[in-house]
């Protein structure tokens, strides 16, 4: 059952200290800015954040990091020209980093959402990022066992939802959002448009409402 929230603050209520939080977006595209700002106001701390990047500029995820709420970041690409908030925290030892190849990051969340206990992949075989991980020869090639990433909460962004939680996205703002929606105990979505059931073409729904727990409409 999808809960329609009247404010972003209501949407993020109850997120506990120490939670693992998936944050949608690729850079700032498709990032759920309003939910992140609500999470800063809500006050949960000691969070593990899983996102492709580690914040851009001083907004969105970077603001959550700057507020000191995040103890660990799991991401594929922290270092960017505008990642100064993360860079400073990392260099001063105030934040832990786990670097995950981007495809493994997506697939590990997909596995969690699909009830898969792990998967063997060639990505990373023979590199630093496979050290200490189980490997297996399959058809003459080396594969590395990667485990699922399941989370307490996913904060995601979509373009349009119906009131049953079915979601559609817009262009490359889709990115990690649909896969994150499947991998969390509580999936919270901010949308620009909210419509009645029947208004979305069922053939075009990307995230079926079964994955969505809370929706809040924000101004675009």
């Amino acid at each position: 059952m999808t809960l329609l929230c009247t404010s972003v603050d209501e949407a993020v209520s109850g997120i506990a200290d120490g939670s693992t939080v998936l944050v949608g977006g690729f850079g700032t595209t498709g990032m759920p800015f309003d939910l992140i700002y609500a999470l800063i106001r809500q006050g949960a701390r000691d969070l593990t954040v899983v996102s492709n990047n580690a914040g851009n500029g001083d907004t969105g995820l970077a603001a959550l990091l700057a507020a000191g709420r995040v103890s660990k970041v799991v991401c594929s690409f922290p270092r960017q020209t505008d990642s100064w908030v993360f860079d400073e925290l990392y260099r001063s030892g105030k934040i832990e980093l786990e670097v995950v190849p981007q495809g493994n990051l997506a697939e590990r969340m997909r596995a969690a959402g699909a009830g898969i206990g792990g998967f063997y992949t060639r990505t990373g075989a023979g590199t630093l990022l496979a050290e200490g991980k189980e490997t297996r020869e399959i058809d003459g090639r080396t594969y590395v066992l990667e485990r699922p990433i399941a989370a307490d909460v996913a904060l995601i962004s979509a373009h349009t939802a119906d009131t049953l939680g079915n979601l559609v996205y817009r262009k490359t703002a889709r990115n990690f959002n649909p896969v994150m929606a499947t991998a969390a105990t509580t999936t919270i979505v901010q949308v620009q448009h909210l419509v009645e059931p029947g208004a979305l073409d069922p053939e075009a729904v990307v995230t079926p409402g079964i994955y969505v727990d809370r929706i809040v409409q924000v101004s675009s």
């Binding site: 690729f26 850079g27 700032t28 595209t29 498709g30 492709n52 594929s76 690409f77 922290p78 270092r79 960017q80 860079d87 990392y90 260099r91 980093l97 670097v99 995950v100 190849p101 981007q102 495809g103 493994n104 990051l105 997506a106 697939e107 969340m109 997909r110 992949t121 060639r122 990505t123 990373g124 075989a125 023979g126 590199t127 630093l128 990022l129 996205y169 817009r170 262009k171 490359t172 703002a173 889709r174 990115n175 990690f176 959002n177 649909p178 896969v179 990307v206």
Partner: protein
């Protein structure tokens, strides 16, 4: 012994290639109709030499096939970016998909070719392009490890020498590896190379240097193909 002319072209009447020329030379070797992913940085500029009429379809790992050229002016849409996070355009016939699907098509061997930059490439085709391993360096891998093992062919676009003159084509990589034995070709300012999996690297074409001089400046066994 019959005289067989080796299949190498040596352009010694000019200097090494400029950055844009390197991208053009690489683009020349991309087959019509190929599905191609261009890495961030200099590899992205290969697209400038492959207009839509080339039939090449660009994949960007943040969830799109049929990516068009960079967007400018009113065409800039914050919801439509490439892997380098720059605004791009959408060509007729484009499609969007989420990240797990985007990397599944890459890792599943459906992508014909990727172009990546590199710190080092080894004689056996090992690639090092994600981390210098220096103290204080913040590691960032992005999609490089997935692309390197997933694409059917991996082309590297890089300068042949570092700023201090060290060759980047090496016997064994000293930087942390991205993937083992994955590189097929290396396009540089001084020469193009083909990695065959054998003991020697084939040199296809040189600019501003002869094959013999190249051999003396690169510490890996080089040869030329015999037709």
């Amino acid at each position: 012994m019959s005289m067989v002319s080796p299949s190498i072209v040596e352009h010694t009447d000019r200097g090494p290639l400029g950055r844009d020329e390197m991208a053009r030379v690489l683009a020349r070797d991309i087959p019509r109709g190929a599905y191609v992913n261009l890495g961030i940085g200099q590899p992205t500029t290969v697209g400038d030499h492959l207009p839509p009429e080339s039939g090449v379809i660009f994949h960007t790992e943040n969830g799109m096939l049929g990516m068009g050229p960079a967007a400018t002016g009113d065409a800039i849409d914050p919801d439509l970016i490439n892997a380098g996070k720059f605004p791009v355009t959408e060509l007729p016939g484009a499609s969007y998909f989420h990240h797990a699907d985007s990397f599944a098509m890459m890792r599943g061997g459906h992508l014909d070719l990727c172009v990546l930059g590199a710190y080092q490439v080894s004689a056996s085709g090992d690639l090092a392009n994600w981390h210098t391993g220096e103290p204080g360096a913040i590691p960032a891998v992005g999609g490089a490890m997935d692309l390197a093992v997933g694409a059917k062919q991996v082309f590297v676009l890089m300068s042949l020498f570092t700023r201090t003159g060290e060759p980047k084509l090496v016997k064994e990589c000293t930087y942390p590896l991205t993937a083992l034995r994955c590189v097929d070709r290396v396009y540089t300012d001084f020469a193009t190379f083909e990695i065959t999996g054998g003991d020697q690297i084939l040199v296809r074409e040189t600019w501003g240097i002869s094959f013999h001089e190249l051999r003396s400046r690169v510490d890996v066994p080089l040869t030329v193909a015999t037709p």
